[in-house]
Structure formats: C-alpha cells, structure tokens
C-alpha cells in the first residue's frame, strides 16, 4: 500500500496505524502516552498528531493506514497543537530537573549522586563518581569555599547538607582503603607536557592519562602540589593527605620532573623539540600584589612566609605582627603566626563582610586569637632596626563613582602610629606575566591588556598545541575552579591529539530545566515543611586552645556513622526520573520552555509504597502507569486535565504486586524507584543485558551500570519475559551490595575453633590437602560435590568435572529437588 508523506512516497502494510507506518519509514513522530497493546487513555496526549489532506489533524497512533493518504508531519498546525498541550503540562509541573546544589559548583559535580552513594554505603562508587570531574577530592574536601552549600534546599528545612565534609569523608576513605584504579585507555602514542604541578596541572594530567596519553609534569619545586602544597597551611590541609592524593594520580603512570622551571630550564620550543605533542601551562598565580603604600617594600611577603613554613624552614618568631589584607593569604598567615606564638593584628580597609576570605575562616582566626582591625588602612610604613612604624588611618567608603564602585578613603584626623616587630603584606596575588621573553614561541603568545594570557573557554591559546589554565589564566581563584578549567582543557587537548572535531554541544539550555525556585522567596515553604528536620552533623574540631603551637588539622573527617547520617539529610531535589524523562525530550524538541513551571506544590510526595515514590506534581496525565498494569494495582483520576485547576488523585490499590511496570513506563519523575537514588542521564550509564538471578523463568534484564554500581534493573523485550518482570526481578537485585556479603576466605581447622580470615593461598592449600588425605584414606566415593542452582553453567560444569575427573567420583548433585 502506498502513502504520501511530506510529498514523499512510502509503503505501508494494511492493518498498520499511521504511526507505525511513519516510524517504519524513518519519520520521527513524537509520542508521550503511546503504549502499544494497551487501552486508550481518557485524554490522549496529542503528540503524535499529523495532518492528513482532506481530514485535517489526526492522531497517527489510532488512524489506520489507507491507500493514497497524503500525510504531512510537523506542520505549523501540528506543532501548534503540540506546543499548546505541552504548555498546559508545563504549567502543572513542579519539580527540580537538576539538583540545585550542582548548578553553582564550578566542577559540575553530581553532588546528589555521590551523597546517595554514601548513603547506600557504596563509598568506592561515590569516589568514582566524584573523580569523573574532580581528581583531588581530599584536597578540595578540606579547602573548598562550597559554592554548593548555600543553594542546598535543606536550608529551607533546617541547615544545608554538609556537602564538602561528605566529599572529604569519602575521599579519605579512598586514601585509607584504596580504591579501584580507574580504567586507562590503551596507549595513543601521544605525549603531553604539563607545566606546573598544582591542582590545574594535576587535573589535566589525570584526565589526559586516563585517555591513554603519555603525560609528563614539569614543576619548579621539589614536589608536586602547587599552592595546596606550598601555601595552604597544614592546619587546613596536611602535607600527608595532599601527598597521598597526588601520589595516587602520579601512580597512574604520570612522570614528574621536579625543579624544572619554565623560562629558566626550558622553553616551549624545547618541549616541542623533545617530542611533546601538546603543552598545558598551569604555573598558577604567585606574584605578590602591592598596595602602593609608601615603605611597603620593606615588609614581608605573606605568600613567601607561607612558602617558608610549608618548606619547613625555621622562622624567627616575632612577637607583635601586623598582617595587611583580607583574603586567603592574609588569614592563613595570621593563623599561622598565631600558632608560632605571635600577637597578630589583621588590618583590612573595609568591613568584615567585604573581606574576600570565607567568613567561616575569619571566625576561626578570631577564635584563635587574631585581632581584626577593620575599616583601617596603612598610610606609611617605615622601619627602624627591628621595629616597624606604621601610620594607620580609619577609613570610610566614598560615594559611588560612575562604575558604582565605592572607594576606600582615609578619615582625616584618625591617623595614629603603631609599632610592630613584623609587618606582612598579603593583598593578594596575581599571575606572572613576564613570559614573552622565555623563547620564540612564548613571544608569539597573545595576551590581554593586563598582560595575562588570552585563551579560549577551553583554555586554548593562539598557538596550536598550547593550552593554559588554572590561576595562571584566571588570576587567583579556588582549587575547584582550577580543576574545572583544567578538565575542560584536557578534553580539548584530547580531541586535538586524536584529530577529533569539537563535540557538538547540544543547544540544551537551562530553559528546559524545571526548578522549584531559584531565590528563597520564590520557594514553596509548605512543600518543605513535610520533610522532618535533622540536625547537621559536625566534624570533630580541635578546640582553639589546642591549636596553639601546632599545625594539626583543625577539622577532622566525618566518621562513617556521621557521614551516613549526614547523607540521609539530602532531600534528593534533582529528579530521579531524569534518565527516563521523555517529557523533557519533547519540550526540547518542540522548544517549549520549562520556565512557566509551577513554583507551588499541589501534592505531597507519597512514599508509602515499598518500592515506588509518587510525586503527582510531575504527572503529565498520560495514564501509562494505569494502562500497563496487569493487576488493577493503580487508581488514577484526573479532574480538569490540562487546565490550571487540574487535580490528580493517584493511589496504589491492595492488588498491586509491586512488579514496578508502572515506574518504568512513566515518562517523567512522577513515579520513581526507591532503589534508584543516583540521578543520571541516559548517555552516562552503560546498558548491559543479563538474566534475573531468581527463578527458572530466566527473565532478561537491562541493567544500567555506572561507577561500579547497578543503578537500576529494567525488563528487556523479547523472550522469555517480553518486557515483564516481577517484584524480585525489578527491585530484588540490590542484595549484591548488602554489607553482609562474604569478602574474604574463612578457615577453621576443626569445628571447635573459631573461623579466621585467611589469604586465598592458605584456604586453597588447606582444602586441597584435606581432600587428598580423605581420598587416599577412604577412597573417592566418600567425597561429594553439591552444585548450585544459582551459578552459571560454566561454574557447574567445572564443579562436576572436579568431582568426576579430579576427585574421581560421580557423587555430584544439585538442588533440583529443593
């Protein structure tokens, strides 16, 4: 039979629906409520509309094909209908597509995901998920300013989840217990030079190494680690933790060349001559900024002081110190000097709230005895022998100038002279810019007006084969920002090395992401009132008096118990139906924004079902759940569907057998699985087909696997189960990660003894030895082998062969009778 589609001839088989015929011919027709073999929904979704000449708009899923039909898909009229319908659904949708905590994170970490893994006790998986984006979690877990935590929705309930402490917990768990080595791609034969072994350099090295490239890090210092190694004081991040973490990265097969400084020991040309195919420059920003105070040159550099401390150089302890500045360096120097017994005053020309250092750290400094001298500036510094005289004035802010900036001006008549044993300047750092003289390639590097390198968003410079990232490019920023820039650069370098085109970035913008409100005042407080309050866990902390005269880490890592409790506090904002959401796909396809989504919840989240969570706020009224159910397990009534007055009544009946077919056909996050707590996208997870481990029907399963964990099990089409599963098949798979799994061989020589853990060698030797003795003494017919009904054919074949060929007896049986 012939049809015309968009003026193109196609053939169809009588009895087909238009939808089937069109899809078979390769036309993409969207559907939402379509469920082959099921009855019609009360209100069809209308997505499959096409225009048929002479009949107007028809639903292709219920229209039989007829000879000579002239069909038009995606016409303006069709698109208009779809848009209207989708807008109606959007207006009734309330939820967060993505977890709000992950959005401000420069590293783009799947925070909800790793918290969920921690909650499940799957620490190795949590770490593997983190390391997809961040190879230095123990470091960042100690010093991150936590862009995420202020956005945590639990703040509406009580206090934000301690995200960074959780990351630190799991990172330290990995350092202590070891973690599975990540998979390294086969060698590509390409060589990359990384200049600078700080967070950016290490990150780029890590991701490039995983792609199979040969990576060498050049660093001016003795050891890798950059600022975290040489500037961040031990009481925030201990050398040992950093060393361990960095060593883990180098152990992947990355070479490190110490005491090699760019410009002193080599130039870019040298690197290319040596055979490197690409270079990543990440030498950080360690040039001390000055403040144009007369006499400032006589003061000590704060960063220099920190360097000397971290190098272990002895310092003469001054008695009375002035530290000038309000950023990380200033606070770190002040806190370090306090530990050396000094009386420290920290001077900053603006208010406490304007200090660039995190408020948390300022408070800690105060606790430790640092005196803050705010709204004050030095006017002149002079030195007489061992004494500094500093002329200080109080400050006020000027009226806003053209750029609305308010400058600091001294208040006349407030000048006073103070004396100190030592004055430290810590006004901040900036990148080194005098690299153009290093060599012929360096001379061609394009710079911006400030003299800093000019790079693309992915860190590429104007010279092919040369990238840069981290503080060197951005000026001093946080570690997580350096990591993020280096990871982007590494991806770009990898593409360059393999000659791949830049991946086409999907034009999927945030406008398709529903959110429950961006600002506090937008949020539906009533919705959050249903979540029980849980106090935030606090890591153990050294009391201020115990911090004197030592550089031990002030904050401890969460205990396992604390981490599990804290992980339990996560509200799981990000939609756990994200990977199966075809509704969102439709919004993107039809370009319907999610911005008109509701900001008020209509329904409570129902968590009574043992395996399924129901959030009717995300229901689009397709009735697929009811229609797929073979047992009458769901009652669903929707009043005024599609209108703003829409009201949804959803309940599970007592006939529900928990087979879970409804969850997996739900095209949104209205129905989600309690076992599937890691948000993920379809392309991230590996889909593997296997067989259910329970009964003898042998239902085929599709497992979604990521980070060494099974994220969910769904039914495979085809024999023997044809897309169906029972409660055990769909939800019963989680036994594999139960903490009671046997993990080590256990042995006792007699039944009177207690079992003890032994190495495999010992257990196997014992078994073989005893079997040999018994066989020799009593004969093979006194030995038997019982096989399993839960292992593979290969296992059983080997076991019966063991009985027959090795023991020498047909004494072999299996649980066929149980």
């Amino acid at each position: 039979m012939k049809l015309w589609v968009n003026e193109q001839e196609i053939t169809a088989t009588p009895g087909q629906t238009l939808l089937e015929a069109l899809r078979a011919a390769g036309f993409e027709i969207p559907t939402l409520c379509h469920l082959p073999g099921a009855e019609e929904p009360p209100v069809p979704c209308g997505m499959c509309m096409v225009e048929v000449e002479g009949r107007g708009l028809v639903r292709s899923c219920v229209t039989p094909v007829e000879e000579g039909l002239k069909v038009f898909t995606d016409t303006e009229a069709v698109k208009e209908v779809r848009r209207k319908r989708l807008q109606g659904m959007v207006a009734n949708h309330y939820g967060d597509c993505k977890a709000p905590c992950s959005i401000p994170c420069p590293g783009g970490l799947n925070i909800q995901g790793y918290i969920a893994f921690i909650n499940r006790g799957e620490y190795a998986s949590a770490l593997s998920l983190i390391k997809e984006k961040l190879p230095l979690p123990a470091t960042v877990g100690r010093i991150c300013p936590r862009f995420c935590e202020p956005r945590c929705r639990r703040a509406i309930v009580d206090t934000p989840v301690a995200i960074n402490h959780l990351k630190r917990f799991v990172a330290d768990w990995g350092l202590e217990h070891g973690e599975p080595k990540p998979e390294i791609a086969p060698p590509t034969g390409k060589k990359v030079a990384i200049v600078g072994g700080g967070p950016a350099g290490l990150t780029a090295a890590y991701y490039l190494r995983l792609k199979g490239h040969e990576v060498t890090i050049f660093d001016a210092q003795d050891e890798p680690g950059g600022m975290p190694r040489w500037a961040i004081p031990d009481f925030k991040l201990s050398k040992e933790v950093l060393r361990k973490e960095v060593q883990g990265i180098l152990n992947l097969g990355i070479s490190f060349r110490p005491r090699k400084a760019w410009g002193r020991d080599f130039s870019l040309k040298d690197l290319f001559d040596e055979g490197f195919d690409a270079v990543f420059l990440a030498i950080g920003a360690s040039k001390c900024r000055d403040h144009e105070v007369p006499g400032e040159e006589k003061t000590t550099s704060g960063l220099g002081l920190l360097f000397r401390l971290k190098k272990g150089e002895p310092l003469e302890t001054p008695r009375k110190v002035l530290v000038m500045g309000g950023g990380y360096t200033a606070i770190d120097v002040a806190r370090s000097l306090v530990r050396l017994g000094a009386e420290v005053t920290l001077l900053y020309p603006r208010s406490r709230m304007e200090m660039p250092a995190p408020q948390r750290e300022i408070a800690e400094a105060e606790k430790e005895g640092v005196k803050l001298f705010l709204m004050a500036m030095p006017l002149k510094i002079s030195q007489e022998k061992d004494l500094y005289r500093v002329l200080v004035a109080r400050t006020r802010l000027s009226e806003p100038d053209k750029t609305k900036a308010r400058k600091v001006v001294p208040v006349e008549g407030t000048e006073q002279e103070l004396t100190f044993d030592l004055v430290v300047r810590a006004w901040g750092e900036e990148p080194f810019t005098d690299f153009s003289g290093f060599g012929e390639i360096e001379a061609q590097l394009a710079t911006n007006p400030k003299g800093m390198l000019k790079v693309s968003p992915s860190g590429a410079t104007n010279i092919p084969g040369v990238w840069a990232g981290g503080d060197f490019v951005s000026g001093p920023k946080t570690v997580i920002q350096a990591v993020a820039s280096a990871r982007r650069a590494a991806e770009d370098i990898h593409r360059y090395l393999l000659g791949e085109q830049k991946a086409k970035k999907g034009a999927v913008s945030v406008k398709f992401d529903f959110n429950r409100g961006r600002r506090m005042e937008e949020m539906d407080v009533d919705f959050y009132a249903d979540f029980p309050t849980l106090p935030r866990e606090r890591p153990a902390e050294l009391p201020p008096e115990a911090r004197k005269d030592n550089f031990s880490e002030v904050l401890a890592t969460f205990t396992e118990e604390q981490a599990r409790k804290e992980a339990e506090r996560c509200l799981k904002c990000g939609c756990l139906g994200f990977h199966k959401c075809t509704f969102r796909d439709l919004l993107i396809r039809e370009n319907v924004a999610a911005t008109k989504g509701r900001k008020r919840a209509k329904y409570k989240v129902e968590t009574d079902h043992l395996f399924i969570e129901v959030d009717s706020n995300k229901c689009v009224g397709c009735y697929r759940c009811v229609r797929v159910c073979n047992y009458g397990g769901i009652e669903l009534t929707i009043f005024d569907q599609g209108s703003p007055e829409e009201e949804i009544h959803f309940t599970f009946t007592e006939d529900c057998v928990s087979c879970g077919a409804c969850v997996d056909v739900c095209p949104t996050g209205a129905l989600t699985r309690k076992d599937s707590t890691i948000p993920f996208t379809r392309s991230e997870a590996k889909e593997l087909r296997t067989v259910c481990p329970y009964c003898g029907t042998g239902c085929n399963l599709i497992a979604r696997v990521k980070n060494g964990s099974i994220l969910e099990m769904t039914a495979a089409e085809g024999p023997p189960n044809y897309g169906d599963l029972c409660v055990k098949g769909r939800f019963g798979y989680t036994f594999y990660r139960h903490p009671e799994r046997l993990k080590k061989p256990l042995l006792r020589k007699s039944r009177e003894e207690a079992f003890r853990e032994v190495p495999w060698e010992e257990a196997l030797d014992f078994v073989a030895e005893r079997l040999r003795e018994i066989k020799e003494k009593y004969g093979p017919e006194t030995i038997g082998v019982l096989c399993s009904a839960r292992t593979t054919n290969e296992d059983t074949y080997v076991a019966q062969k063991f009985a027959r060929a090795v023991i020498g007896s047909h004494n072999v049986d299996n649980p066929a009778r149980v």
Partner: protein, 496 residues
Amino acid sequence: MRALRKGLKLVVVDPRKTELAEKAVLWLPLKPGTNVPLANGIAYVILKEGLYRKDFIEARTENFEAYANYILSEWPLERAERMTGIRREHIEHLAHLYARAEKALIFWGLGVTEHRSGSQGAMAMANLALLCGHVGRPGTGAMPLRGQNNVQGACDMGALPYTLPGYQKMADPLVRKKFQDIWGVPLPEKPGLTETMMYKEALEGRFKALYVVGYDVAMTHGNLNRVHEALSRLDLLVVQDIFWPKVADFAHVVLPSACLFEKDGTTDNGERRVQRIRKLIDPPGEAWPDWKIIAEVSKRLGYEMPYQSARDIFEEMRRIMPSFSGITYERLEERSLCWPVPDEDHPGTELMFQERFSRDSGKAFFAIPKHWGPEDKTDTDYPFVLITGRRLQHYNCGSMTRRVEGLLELLPEELVEINPKDARKLRIRERDPIKIVTHRGEVTARAHITTRVRPGIIFMDFHFEDPLTNILTSPGIDTEVHTPEYKVAAAKIVKL
C-alpha cells in the same frame, strides 16, 4: 495475564488457593499427595470416553495397551474421586477441557515432584499429554516450572550422580571414551550418590567430605535435623557462597564467591533457553567466580584447569555436549538459543519431540504410574497436613531476598497459613504465636488465618532462618530420584 485476557482457559490443581488459582476458570483443591490418582482419573475419563488421539498414539508411542488396561482396571473414577477428594464431575470436566482443546499445556511445579510418588506423578501427566497428542506442537507439552534461576543448567551440566553433562549416558562406551579424551582421565566406574544418600552414608560413617557450591543444604533440605547431624559428622565441609549460609555453621572452610551480576557465563531457563549472564560490576572484596575457586583447588590436587575465562569453559562444554555444540558466545550475543543446537547453523530447538522422542525407538513410552501415599499419615495426634512452599516476595532459602529492604518489609516473617475453621477450633487469632509440631521436631511462628488453605491443611514457607521450617518436613523421599517429600507432613498445632 495477557493470554488470560485473550481467552486462555486456566485450570489450577493445588490444595492451596494460590494467586494463580484466583485467576483460573477451575481450581481443584485436591488432597495433598494425590497427584497420581487425579492424573490417572483424568486418563480414565479420556480412555473410557474415547477422547484420545488414536493416530498419534499409534504413530508416536509404545505400551499404550498395557497402560490403557492398567488405568481402566485399576483407576475407576470413583477411586480417583475418593482419594483426591475432587468430585467426579470436576475430574470429567477437566478431562474434557484438556482432551478436546486444540492445544493444551501442562505445567507442574514441586507440588508434583516433592512426594514419594513424585516421579510417578510427572510420568502420569506426561501420559495425559501423549494420550491427547498434546506434544511436539506449539502451545502444547508437559513441563516442570523451574524454581531456581539455573537449576535447569545444573542438571544440563550433569550435576547429577546418574547422568553426564548433556544427559549423556555413563554406560555408553563411546561417551566414556570421549570424556576420557577431553578430560585426560577415565570416568569413575561406580555410580554416584544422590544428595539424600550422601547424608545417609555420612550418618553411617561411610561418607567423609562434602564440597558445597552456593547451596544452603542446612536450610533447604527436608528433615533437617538429620541433615545437620550428617553434616557435623563430616571430616571436611567446604562451602562457597555469597552470604553466610546456614550450612557454613558446620563448615571448615567458607569461600567468598561472585554473584551472578559479577561474572560472565551462561544459564539455562526452564525452556532449555541458554542465555548470557554478563558481568556488570566487580565482586566485593576478594570474592572470586565459583569456577576459578574450584580450578585453583583442582590445580593443587594435581589436575590443571587452565581456564582463563568463562568462555574457555564454554568452548570445552561445546566439545563435550552434542546438544551445545552449535552454541557460541557470539551467537548468544544476538539472542538466546534453546538446546539442542547440534551445529552452528542450527536455529535452536524451542519445540522438542516434533517428530521423534529421545528414545532409541523414537517413540514415547507409556509408563505405568503407580501411587504411593505420603510417608507421613495424619492421625488424631497429628491431625494437620503441613505443606511447605514459596511465596512471591522471597526466593528459596531467602539469603538474597531477605537482604533487600523492600522485599523483607513486604514479607518480614514466616506466617503459618491456617483455615479460619481450624483457627476457631483451636482458638487461634490472627498473628498469634503458635507451635507447629511434627514427628521430627517443632518450631514456633505466627499464624495467618486465611481461606487460601482448606480445613485440615497448614502452609509454611522456608525462606527464614527462624523458624527453620525444614526441621518439620517428612523423611519420605521419592522412590526413584530421592526428592524429599516436602509437601506432606503430619503436624499438630499448639497454641502458645
């Protein structure tokens, strides 16, 4: 469910009103242990009324005359009615439905096989299929439903004392030669012991060591006290498992193994469908695939098993088992295959016995199904029949399902099903703790009052370590293959 909606007629024969029985057009709650009488009663109706397929019987079967005489003379309908407790009209109705159907299937579970005359029951039903020619065509057949994921495969691989991999005969000299060529050692001469006999021998001091792979015999075997006694007499007990099984309490060595999500391989479902198991994740800690553990022990006993992967083992299986010779991992990548698959171009055998049966003559043989009553008989002291079985929410010994939070919450404990009439007589109310006593021992559990069981019958599962239901089960075993008689035990109930 889809088939039922399309008009399939379902008849359920079960003393207990199962979930499936609720969907049936006819539910026949026969007396426990009377499967042979019922099947023979149905045969009687078919023979008496001439509803059998003469052409099929002539062309494809042997021994019909003897069978027909046996049934007609020994199994008059009154006898079946008296023994099964099913009215003759219902037996006739079922016989008519089955014989007159164009296509009909018989499925059975352990409710048929776990009796003294379990094998007889299976043969009695196979006879019905032969009588009506309901074999060898799509939508027909008589088959057991397999309770465990790879119990079919365990049998197919020859984990049985009386048959070799692929059901090859031990007595066949050509077969023995082939095994010797491939394995490099001659096959043992003496036949082997079934599991039940191993315990018997152990109790008598003639059996010394047991190597148990992923099978909690100390929980799931019948008449457990005897099994526990036998296990503690062993000089060596080695256990491989994923969780600590009850049998490990008696062991010397407990070895951690990978579960089905953590290794590659194949399994066979109840349709003989060979399917690929794929490794999804790494095993926890130091756990290994079962085959690797055994291969390592084997090496230490001087026999090398140099397999590098499950695939290596499969290649050897193909060489040794003609029914698997056409199956390769590559073919399984595309789709599953039902054995026998004699060569790589063979599409697999979803339907068996289309032209020949697997006997030398190619014809099916009508067995003469005999009936032996259960070993345990109810009396005034032990008035109840205890049936054991499984429930949807849990799997076998429950080691896996009890460790899935939701499943455990769905069914957190053993509940003894008892009919409201009996409960009233004994003054038992819902969830009352009761003691169940048989000649072997006693356990305590809570009661669940339901009409799923008929008066005089109680039902328990064996998914929990406490109570250990199989303490109670009968010492009776199937006369042919020694399957314990889980389905009938005389019991009494004591209200606590």
